[in-house]
């Protein structure tokens, strides 16, 4: 079948019957009315179909000049016929899509079609329109390609739906991955809890069996071990209760004005024997001036003790642990520095996460013991005091530095009627539900 050149309305005004009607008339059976069966009627009907299409139906020559422009094109792009015919089709192409026209023309010149090419065009009001375009070459009476017929369908709504569906899918996948991760972390945590509770229990049952052997020479060691193992279990249970309180927002602080020097001093004393036994040098620099904060002494001691015991635990014999207390710029700063096994860059961001730490304990093989939730508890306690806790390490086997900052208590005035403010009032503080 021979195809003829598609004419612009201006052309068809003068030569209205050249629009390929003969090509289709033989295959298409026209209804009797209103156009009749003569070629002019058929052509008028085809023109009416093109005109009434919801899709943009446009023709252009091989210089990209627009030749025809239907009602669908007006609706989709906002330009009238007069505004487009004679101008380049590139007026519809966003700058980043201009290269597409060269590709389209090259394809047409090879006599090939472009089907359902999804891209973006720009309307008169600068609105981006997602379109699916199909382009076919138009040939003249000699069969030479002289232009192209282009059908563009507005797929903006479909694209929006697709984008929204993809967003929902990605969001659902992310939520599922997060839930699975959290579940896995909790499973690991429960596994670690089980392991850590069984360990002192195994020791206790062992020494009870030894006591039942009735030999007096074992009694002292047995009782000492029982006492120590019970202490280990009590600490594990207290940590679990703390985590439960943090999760449910029921952790309470008993605030009063305290000098952090006494807290740090007490924890260093408490760790001295363990450090010496392990061959780790434990030092403290406390300063001469008080570092007073509004805090719960037991909880702050728990925080510093956690940092110190971790430092001693992860520092090999011959290493050093140094605690430093400074007060400056309205805050007190406790720094615990060790020369121990350090932290990897991958693990550092997850150090204070409640279950991630336990996950890591499981992954490392529980070789260091403990639930691995001490730092998560410490972070919560410090934050409830209005402070911060940070960790840094140059990497594995390069030591670690933990820094806790707490706001210094305001200087109290001697006048009895002075408004002391909330921070100066000792007593119980109901802590709101904590994050994470």
């Amino acid at each position: 079948m021979r195809r003829r050149r598609l004419k612009s309305p201006r052309d068809t005004a003068t030569q209205p019957r050249r629009l390929a009607a003969s090509d289709v008339a033989s295959e298409w059976r026209a209804p009797a009315a209103p156009f009749g069966t003569d070629p002019a009627g058929v052509q008028a009907m085809l023109a009416a179909i093109v005109e009434s299409s919801d899709d943009a139906i446009v023709s252009k020559d091989l210089d990209s000049t627009i030749m025809t422009w239907n009602g669908g094109a007006e609706r989709i792009f906002g330009y009238t016929r007069d505004e487009t015919i004679g101008r380049s089709i590139t007026m519809l192409l966003p700058p980043e899509h201009l290269h597409e026209e060269d590709h389209i023309l090259a394809t047409l010149r090879r006599g090939e079609r472009i089907d359902h090419f999804e891209t973006v065009r720009v309307g008169k009001d600068a609105r981006r329109v997602d379109v699916s375009i199909s382009v076919s070459p138009i040939r003249d009476a000699m069969g030479s390609i002289v232009g192209a017929a282009k059908i563009a369908r507005d797929i903006t709504e479909r694209k929006k739906i697709e984008t929204e569906r993809a967003r929902l899918l990605a969001s659902e996948r992310a939520a599922r991955a997060e839930a699975e991760g959290a579940n896995r972390a909790k499973d690991e945590f429960l596994s670690v809890v089980s392991h850590e509770l069984r360990t002192p229990l195994a020791s206790m049952l062992g020494w009870i069996r030894v006591l039942r052997m009735g030999k007096e020479e074992h009694a002292v060691r047995a009782l000492n071990t029982l006492e120590r193992s019970i202490g280990v279990q009590r600490k594990l249970i207290e940590d679990l209760v703390d985590v439960s309180r943090i999760v449910t927002g029921r952790l309470r602080l008993e605030l009063r004005r305290i000098d952090l020097r006494s807290i740090v001093h007490a924890t260093v004393e408490a760790m001295a024997v363990e450090a010496t036994t392990k061959g780790v040098q434990l030092g403290a620099v406390l300063g001469d001036l008080p570092a007073e904060v509004q805090g719960d002494p037991e909880r702050l001691e728990q925080v510093v003790l956690n940092l110190l015991s971790n430092a001693v635990k992860f520092t090999p014999s011959g290493g050093r642990v140094l605690v430093r207390l400074e007060a400056a710029d309205l805050e007190a700063r406790v720094t615990v520095e060790d020369t121990g096994q350090g932290l990897t860059a991958e693990f550092l961001p997850h150090l204070f996460e409640r279950f991630r730490q336990a996950e890591s304990v499981a992954a490392r093989g529980r070789e260091s013991g403990g639930l691995g939730i001490g730092l998560a508890i410490a972070r919560n306690l410090v934050e409830l005091h209005g402070g911060t806790i940070r960790a840094k390490s140059a990497g594995e086997n390069k030591g670690a530095v933990f820094t806790v900052t707490l706001p210094l208590a305001p200087i109290t005035t001697p006048a009895p009627d002075t408004d002391k403010g909330e921070a100066a009032n000792p007593g119980e503080l109901d802590v709101p539900r904590t994050v994470r």
Partner: protein, 121 residues
């Protein structure tokens, strides 16, 4: 009753290791202790006759898996039977990959433990 070979208890938990050693000695076994896999290898190589190794899995420096790997590579140690004792709830399954004689959970059922030990020493 136990022969003249030694039974080795490998566990980094000194309290439990001590209890097990005391119980085993009370049952007539000759016991040597090791704090981790590395120490266990040294002890086993130095000792000419080890009838059984009681092995914990999670230990610093050299864990139970690594110890077992080294043990089976050493012809002088490979034949020594091993009983895995672990607080890991999944210890029995994990131990199957090690090709050991038995696996028991912590806390240990000492009557059962002694019965198993008597099969080897």
């Amino acid at each position: 009753m136990a022969g003249k070979c030694w039974l080795m208890v490998v566990d980094d938990d000194a309290d439990l290791r001590g209890a097990m050693a005391t119980i085993l000695e009370g049952a007539g076994f000759r016991v040597i202790e090791a704090n981790d896999g590395f120490e266990a290898l040294q002890q086993a190589r130095a000792n000419r006759c080890t009838c059984l190794i009681v092995l914990d899995l999670y230990m610093p420096r050299m864990n139970g898996w690594k110890f077992r790997e080294e043990q089976v590579k050493d012809p002088s140690l490979a034949a020594i039977p091993v009983i895995v004792i672990s607080a890991d709830a999944d210890a029995a399954r994990k131990a199957t990959t090690l090709g050991v004689a038995a696996a028991m959970p912590k806390p240990v059922d000492f009557d059962r433990f002694l019965n198993v030990v008597r099969q080897y020493c």
